[in-house]
Subunit: 462 residues, 2 copies
């Protein structure tokens, strides 16, 4: 019996892309230009990193066409693509021509060689330096790669219009995001099943990535698969899985059109949580539930964050790690000692959606980041709207650096029961992260197929 | 019983790195500066492609230290590294400090902030545009990313010295290359075992990549795993495995220090070659054997290439696809119809080693690429030396573009038996590629653990 072929990602229908372009044109006068960028050289010009088109281009064109540009102006939308290169065909096979793209996308498509200068056009700074240089030459003004957090005045209205569109996902975007979440679920199941004491972190990470690439997707970000859960963005993968320890896996897929998932689970290497691991796992899960209970259109995301911080604090007090009233400890920012990051962020075409524009997307006009330990790493402070996708990802971490920073003799120092904390030495770090679509009446968890309760995780590992 | 942890890559000993730096200093007067480069942003500044240091830096320092620079001058060697960032430690965990690197490498290490301008220093253009901009500011002259094929006069002696060193691998380099080949062998075995009719190419590619990343390595280049073997550098992976077809897999690992393997195998999806597939497979294997028979210190690589071309031609004549004398057909460049690329290339820190310097590494002084169809894609024309590593990778491909280009009524047109060729319709493309270390008396195949004969491949798939 032949195995079934893996389901392959569905594309965004051209009508949905046309509707996005139309909505953008209604909001900002053109001309507007969006470059897709080129693959970046790795160790020599012909050995490039896997190509990933610029996100704003993907939002409006839906296909990762290398070296292309979209122009929107009074005359409508025109896509400019590289001319067919018969020499390249020998090496890369037949690729879609301008005519093919025009048919597929229902869009006027021309050769990029025919695109002249575009003085006065607005754009958004790309990540690819070659695309930035190309835009500089076409627009006759400097466009610097990665400079979206310090926009030229001409580009600000375009950024604000794009943010308004991309903040609230249309049905086609939700379909892409569901696909990414679905494959991410398969990756996490593969990770749970691949876990065995004595293996390296890299082996579990490989099993998870394999599930993603087998389904025609890429990793939306460098996977974190670590026995050092206390390192928030751990990059090493040589650690050996200790049977008494936990493994934290923060891994998400990205569709070929660039739409991302971002999910974290933490599981016991042995397949069974120890009593202390289970207690702390349940505490983080309680903090996630408290956050989710606040998610609904109209709620302020900052309050979602504070609810999860407060819930975790109460659990930590309940477990006897901190002594005193939760009220007072919250004023001291005591939660930041164990949970120093924000409850989550926007998710869409980017895993931190539109972070290329700095805090402009994450923070509502007039709001800025707070400097206090509870909120300094919060990436989102807006009122939620139906159709927004956010992560909800509280955590508990024993970070030696943070504990060492406590001032001896301070209120916090006296509140911390170090002996009790030491009993949780088999809990280095726990994070539980889901992708949550805001609705009018609450929310929908796109990553809901991934085991999450301690019991479901243990069952999946048996 | 706990599974055994995967063997982890060994590092190059500091003495070997010191010896390389010393040999380079003896050949070119300093000051010389080598930048390691920074990770390149993918879709926003904090979401980067997996960092890969510049190859020349890796050759001399052996550790992928982001944002670092090596300076060689009369005073010796100094490594400049980024200052410790306590803020980053929260996210990425403790990283080696300047003192740690100094201890590990036995080298003077300073903060990069202490490095002033270096007027008159020679360098080699990096691939990373940020590193190029940094070098531009330090050297006070333009350094353009990816411009190694058009060097400034000041940098030519350095390029020639680096080429002289890197052409012939020292024992530490061979150890790295062996490790890469060893893990690559495991990847190809995983690919053979994962192949089932009805799966997608991506599933087999994922199984191969998983074996590489589970061992702490990366892919040295974007893997080619395709049912369209006739597309030389196929990039798509959605093809479904036809039980009657072949699967071509060109996949190689790279150690954490950047040393590469590059191996291709072609196997039948069903696990059994058809008679036509076996005949043509044996023809390509014969062409590889003819090439290998020429490999020895002192031989000219161009003659290795021509031997494989000639052997394949004779097989194709023997199979009745081309009629006439091999002598005459060779003069017509008839082999290029089915085998349009070179027999291989240099292999080392880059999969096309030192191709960042254009043809300067591959072609001996005074030699240039030939324009004829047999040799235009030959990447190497030097006398072989003991310690050089080259690929030997003949192939047979039915490329519609090339066959369509035959002039009607020409000698080649009359020589081609299209009916006979049509009988080989289940052979789209076959390539057999090994990594071959040149010795005084012949060669050693580093990738020898990978099944290669039709019989061994079938046995591995059972």
């Amino acid at each position: 019996m032949a195995p079934l072929e893996a389901a392959w990602p569905r594309s965004t229908p051209p009508e949905a892309l046309a509707a996005r372009r139309q909505r953008l044109r209604e909001r900002v006068p053109g001309p507007l230009v969006f470059a897709s960028g080129w693959a970046r050289a790795r160790n020599f010009p012909h050995n490039a990193y896997t190509y990933r088109a610029e996100s704003h281009f993907l939002y409006l064109v839906g296909r990762p066409i290398e070296g292309a540009a979209l122009v929107l102006d009074e005359a409508g939308a025109r896509l400019y693509v590289p001319a067919d290169d018969p020499g390249a065909r020998l090496w890369h096979g037949p690729e879609p021509t301008a005519e093919d793209w025009s048919r597929e996308l229902g869009l006027e498509v021309r050769s990029i060689d025919s695109l002249g200068s575009l003085p006065g056009a607005a754009t958004l700074p790309p990540q690819d330096p070659s695309a930035a240089a190309w835009l500089t030459s076409r627009l006759g003004r400097p466009v610097v790669a990665g400079s979206g957090d310090r926009l030229a005045a001409l580009d600000v209205p375009l950024a604000e219009a794009m943010i308004a569109l991309r903040l609230v996902h249309d049905a086609a975007a939700v379909d892409q995001l569901r696909q990414a979440a679905h494959v991410t679920a398969r990756a996490h199941l593969a990770g749970l099943r691949a876990t065995r004491p004595g293996l390296r972190e890299a082996r579990v990470a490989a099993a998870m990535q394999a599930e993603i690439s087998a389904h025609g997707m890429a990793c939306a970000y460098e996977p974190i698969v670590t026995v050092h859960g206390e390192v928030l963005h751990a990059r090493h993968k040589h650690g050996v899985l200790d049977p008494a320890g936990l493994l934290l896996a923060d891994v998400g897929a990205e569709t070929p059109e660039g739409w991302a998932a971002d999910v974290t689970r933490t599981w016991p290497v042995s397949g069974r949580f120890s009593p202390t691991q289970r207690d702390m796992y349940d505490a983080v899960l309680t903090a996630q539930a408290a956050a989710l209970a606040k998610v609904v259109a109209g709620a302020r995301y900052r309050d979602v964050h504070l609810a999860s911080q407060r819930a975790l604090l109460e659990c930590i007090v309940g477990l006897g790690i901190l002594r005193g009233s939760a009220e007072q400890l919250a004023e001291l920012h005591a939660t930041a000692l164990f949970y120093p990051h924000g409850v989550g962020h926007l998710l869409g075409l980017d895993v931190h959606d539109m972070e290329d524009l700095g805090d402009r997307a994450g923070y509502a006009p007039g709001r800025v980041r707070q400097a206090d330990p509870t909120s300094r790493f919060l990436r989102l402070d807006r009122e939620l709207e139906a159709g927004m996708l956010v992560t909800i990802e509280p955590g508990f971490y024993q970070i030696p650096e943070l504990i060492a920073r406590i001032e001896p003799g301070s209120v916090l120092d006296r509140a911390l029961d170090r002996e009790r904390l030491a009993q949780f030495s088999d809990v280095r770090g726990i994070r539980i992260e889901d992708d949550v679509l805001v609705t009018q009446t609450g929310y929908e968890i796109l990553s809901q197929d991934i085991p999450k309760t301690a019991r479901d995780i243990e069952a999946a590992m048996r």
